[in-house]
């Protein structure tokens, strides 16, 4: 270990020697990770929202008059459940529907309303609301189905948003990882330039390539881990701040926000992994040209 001690110390020292560039590359990595993390968390929240919608957003399938008695209307259950995208179908009889309706409104208002006004119906939940319009058509084509009530446009716009956010975040992540790597590599190139004499001497006396790389990889790792750790803390604060505002607002009160604690470990691991990889490969890349001859 002692013989590596010197080189590892050199890696740390180089960070302070090129203080400004080190600061810049940590900041860039932080910024990249925060942008990356924020879009990912946004898309996670949209996913959760869609899940909520899927749970709440029920499709009502009305049974037509050809299946008038409850017995035959219940027969439809298996046909509905045979459709692929259906996660559940709950039968509600004409009587129950009327009772539900009545309980919500004033009795007097209901006077004179006959239970035959109501139809037997199924309350249907979907597995994936992205396929809602297709499923709606399949339901409508079933024999015995009079009408299908579904909030198509509502679901569709959320799915579109989710898809856009996923694509944007993927593209952003690729670009930002590349930018971080580039900045990191150039920061460490400064260090290799400052120590080119030493590198030349190491090569002349026959130091192994891994040994020559060591201080620069250490420098990259330290910067990467620093950037990852700081980005994690910043993301934590930022996320709680923003979600706190949303939940606090009037419209936001209806939204269910994914709590940071439930994803903190994942965010931490991913940030650290990106920091470590960008740092290590940045270091290896920076020294690459010196090791050719």
């Amino acid at each position: 270990m002692s013989r590596y001690g010197y080189l590892i110390r050199e890696g740390f020292r180089s960070i302070t020697t090129h203080g400004f560039m080190s600061f810049a590359s940590v900041t860039i990595i932080m910024a990249c990770l925060i942008i990356m993390g924020s879009v990912s968390l946004l898309s996670l929240n949209i996913d959760a929202l869609i899940k909520d919608l899927e749970d709440q957003n029920e499709i009502v399938v009305f049974v037509d008059e050809s299946l008038n008695d409850e017995e035959s209307a219940r027969e439809l259950q298996k046909n509905i459940e045979a459709i692929e995208n259906i996660s559940s179908a709950e039968f509600v009889s004409r009587d129950e529907a009327m009772d539900n309706f009545m309980s919500k409104y004033d009795e007097e208002l209901m006077e004179g309303i006959d239970e035959t006004v109501f139809r037997h119906r199924y309350i249907v939940h979907l597995t994936d609301i992205a396929l809602m319009s297709q499923t709606k058509m399949e339901l409508e084509s079933l024999r015995g189905v009079a009408k299908v009530n579904a909030h198509l446009d509502y679901a569709q716009s959320f799915v579109t948003i989710r898809n856009v956010v996923s694509i944007v975040s993927l593209v952003l992540i690729v670009i930002l990882v590349f930018v971080s790597f580039f900045i990191m590599s150039n920061t460490i190139k400064l260090a290799t330039f400052g120590r080119r004499e030493e590198i030349a001497i190491m090569k002349m006396v026959g130091a192994a390539n891994g040994f020559i790389r060591l201080p620069f990889v250490v420098e990259g790792l330290v910067l990467g881990i620093l950037g990852g750790g700081l980005a994690f803390l910043a993301e934590w604060g930022l996320y709680n701040l923003v979600t706190g505002r949303i939940v606090g607002s009037v419209t936001g009160a209806l939204l269910n926000v994914v709590p940071f604690k439930s994803v903190a470990l994942h965010v931490f691991i991913i940030y650290m992994a990106v920091g470590v990889l960008v740092g290590a490969f940045g270091g290896v890349n920076a020294i690459k040209n010196y090791l050719k001859v």
């Binding site: 013989r3 010197y6 004499e197 001497i201 090569k203 006396v205 026959g206 130091a207 020559i212 001859v293």
Partner: protein, 226 residues
């Protein structure tokens, strides 16, 4: 040991034929001067030996390694059999004398216990005992070059190659340095010295390989005369 056979070296970038049809053998234990005017190809020959450049044609064998075909990852192993000295010393400015020499051992992974024994011995051999704590800038040119020689020798290479080691020294320091290299040679290390200083070469009775415009024009014990 160096074996050159019909070596040709062309620098594509400057379209220069730096060496043409060069053949000689340097056996273990020899002391050889490599002389020639500026631009004749001396440094190119040195770089062929250290593996910094590869021959365009012909064979270069150094300490049993075939330098024309050696794999890049084998170069460190090959270089541990060589000690290299340059005209401009190439010491690390922010390390003291002791650390400059110890550095060469550290980076090849020598244990500390061995470094502590070997470095003082080397510094004594080159006459720098008591100067361990000095920084390179606090030394004369001759002293700096002796640090460089100690560093080149510290890992016990089979051969030392020195490219104009006296280029920046006055005649007296140059002679002292050459006597040091002669002493090292007598202790068993092969020594190859590049120089264009005729007086210095002629002060010793050694084998002299002469090149001019990339071609060998002499190889013998008859000194350096034109």
């Amino acid at each position: 040991m160096v074996v050159m056979e019909n070596v040709r070296k062309v620098y594509e970038s400057s379209n220069t034929v730096a060496l043409e049809n060069v053949s000689f053998t340097i056996n273990d234990g020899e002391f050889v001067f490599l002389v020639g005017p500026s631009g004749s190809g001396k440094t190119t020959l040195m770089k062929l030996i250290t593996g910094e450049v590869r021959p365009t044609a012909g064979t270069v064998i150094v300490n049993d390694f075939n330098m024309g075909a050696i794999k890049r990852r084998k170069l460190p192993k090959m270089r541990r059999t060589l000690g290299v000295v340059f005209q401009d010393y190439r010491l690390i400015e922010n390390m003291n004398v002791y650390d400059n020499v110890a550095f060469a051992m550290r980076v090849v992974g020598a244990p500390n216990s061995e470094i502590r024994k070997r470095v003082p011995y080397m510094l004594e051999l080159v006459g720098l005992e008591g100067r361990e704590k000095r920084m390179p800038t606090e030394l004369s040119g001759g002293e700096q070059q002796r640090v460089a020689i100690a560093r080149a020798l510290v890992n016990s290479p089979r051969m030392i190659v020195a490219d104009e080691p006296t280029g920046n020294l006055d005649p007296v320091r140059s002679l002292e340095l050459m006597l040091l290299l002669e002493k090292i040679n007598e202790m068993g290390t092969t020594v190859v010295v590049v120089t264009h200083e005729k007086e210095l070469v002629n002060a010793f009775s050694k084998r002299v390989i002469k090149i001019d415009s990339g071609k060998m024009i002499g190889d013998g014990m008859d000194g350096y005369y034109e």
